[in-house]
């Protein structure tokens, strides 16, 4: 009820600020072009036709971290690459989210040794973990939609963090 019933056909909607901002954030979330290893192939095929991620707003991948909201860490992170990942994450502007795609980014995967970082959450905070080696495009899309649902539950007091 409220204002909208009095306005008739004027084309006005009322909503909360949180809903509007969260809808805007999930609607066009552009990921950083960051495929490290085999999971990148699945990420590419998810971006391509037939499992299209553009349906969910991820129209294209930006090459610059300053222009992207999301980093999908697709693949194993070696000890030599770890400072680079941290620097890219620091260069991204708020609000930013992280998806750890695949087993190697979540927990080190099959590589339990000196050279591979055992899960990218040693370096950067992760929002959604996707299991799989590699995860199928449907699983990556499910992870993305889970992230969208997580963002839709964010409150105003979480924004200024």
């Amino acid at each position: 009820m409220g204002i909208s019933s009095k306005l008739g056909n004027l084309g006005l909607v009322t909503t909360t600020l949180e809903t509007a901002v969260n809808w805007g954030r999930t609607g066009a979330m552009w990921p950083l072009l960051f495929g490290l290893a085999c999971c990148a192939i699945e990420m590419m095929s998810t971006q391509a036709s037939d499992y299209d991620m553009s349906r969910f707003g991820m129209e294209l991948n930006r090459a610059s971290p300053r222009q992207s909201d999301l980093i999908i860490v697709a693949g194993r992170v070696t000890r030599k690459m770890a400072p680079v990942v941290r620097q890219l994450y620091d260069q991204m502007a708020d609000p930013k989210w992280v998806i750890a795609m695949g087993d190697c980014a979540s927990c080190g995967g099959v590589y339990n040794n000196y050279a591979v970082v055992q899960g990218v959450d040693e370096i950067i905070p992760v929002d959604v973990y996707i299991a799989g080696c590699p995860p199928r495009p449907e699983q990556l899309i499910h992870g993305v939609l889970t992230l969208h649902e997580k963002i839709k539950t964010e409150r105003i007091r979480n924004w200024a963090s």
């Binding site: 040794n113 959450d121 950067i124």
Partner: protein
């Protein structure tokens, strides 16, 4: 175009470098010749340049750590380096092995013969610790620049992370400061 007839590599090497050959092994038509490390550059030059023996392609250089080491005729030292070379003209392969001592493993570089050995030797320097003297770029290749130690040696532990049970979950979570169920 005249192609010189193929020479037998073992016979040619035994005639030219009789004192450098340490051990010979033949296994299922694969020939392995163990030579002294100070003669490796001359041997590689000879194998590449002689018509009849044209080994013009370096396939790989790999290194082995025989730990714990007991000296034998086939393996005189702890570290072995194998050069796999291939002759595109005669379609045959050869393996030349050298052995380097345990305390100060140094082998002359073969970059002047095969320029592709640059990164192959750098990888061996990084992971096994065998120095190649004469190499123009002695930096680490695969590990970070400030890494201590040589990971491919057999007395270096693997660096595994323990399986997470309830008794060691605190120790494991110390390495993952950003892992949390909700942030």
């Amino acid at each position: 175009m005249q192609i010189a007839p193929a020479l037998d590599p073992l016979q040619s090497l035994q005639e030219k470098f009789p004192e450098a050959i340490v051990f010979i092994k033949t296994f299922r038509e694969e020939l392995t010749i163990v030579v002294q490390p100070n003669a490796i550059l001359e041997i590689m030059t000879y194998l590449r340049n002689t018509p009849g023996l044209v080994y013009n392609f370096l396939s790989d250089i790999s290194s082995v750590d025989y730990y714990p080491h007991t000296p034998s005729e086939e393996r005189p030292e702890r570290y072995g380096v194998s050069y796999h070379i291939y002759s595109m003209l005669y379609n045959r392969r050869l393996r030349i092995k050298v052995f380097a001592a345990e305390d100060e493993p140094v082998i002359p570089t073969i970059i002047s013969v095969y320029p592709g050995a640059n990164w192959l030797e750098r990888e061996i320097l990084d992971l096994m610790g065998i120095r190649f003297e004469g190499h123009p770029d002695q930096r680490r290749l695969l590990m970070p620049d400030d890494w201590n130690g040589h990971p491919a040696r057999r007395d270096v532990p693997m660096g595994k992370e323990m399986v997470q049970f309830s008794f060691n979950v605190e120790d494991i979570m110390k390495h993952k400061p950003h892992a949390s169920s909700s942030n």
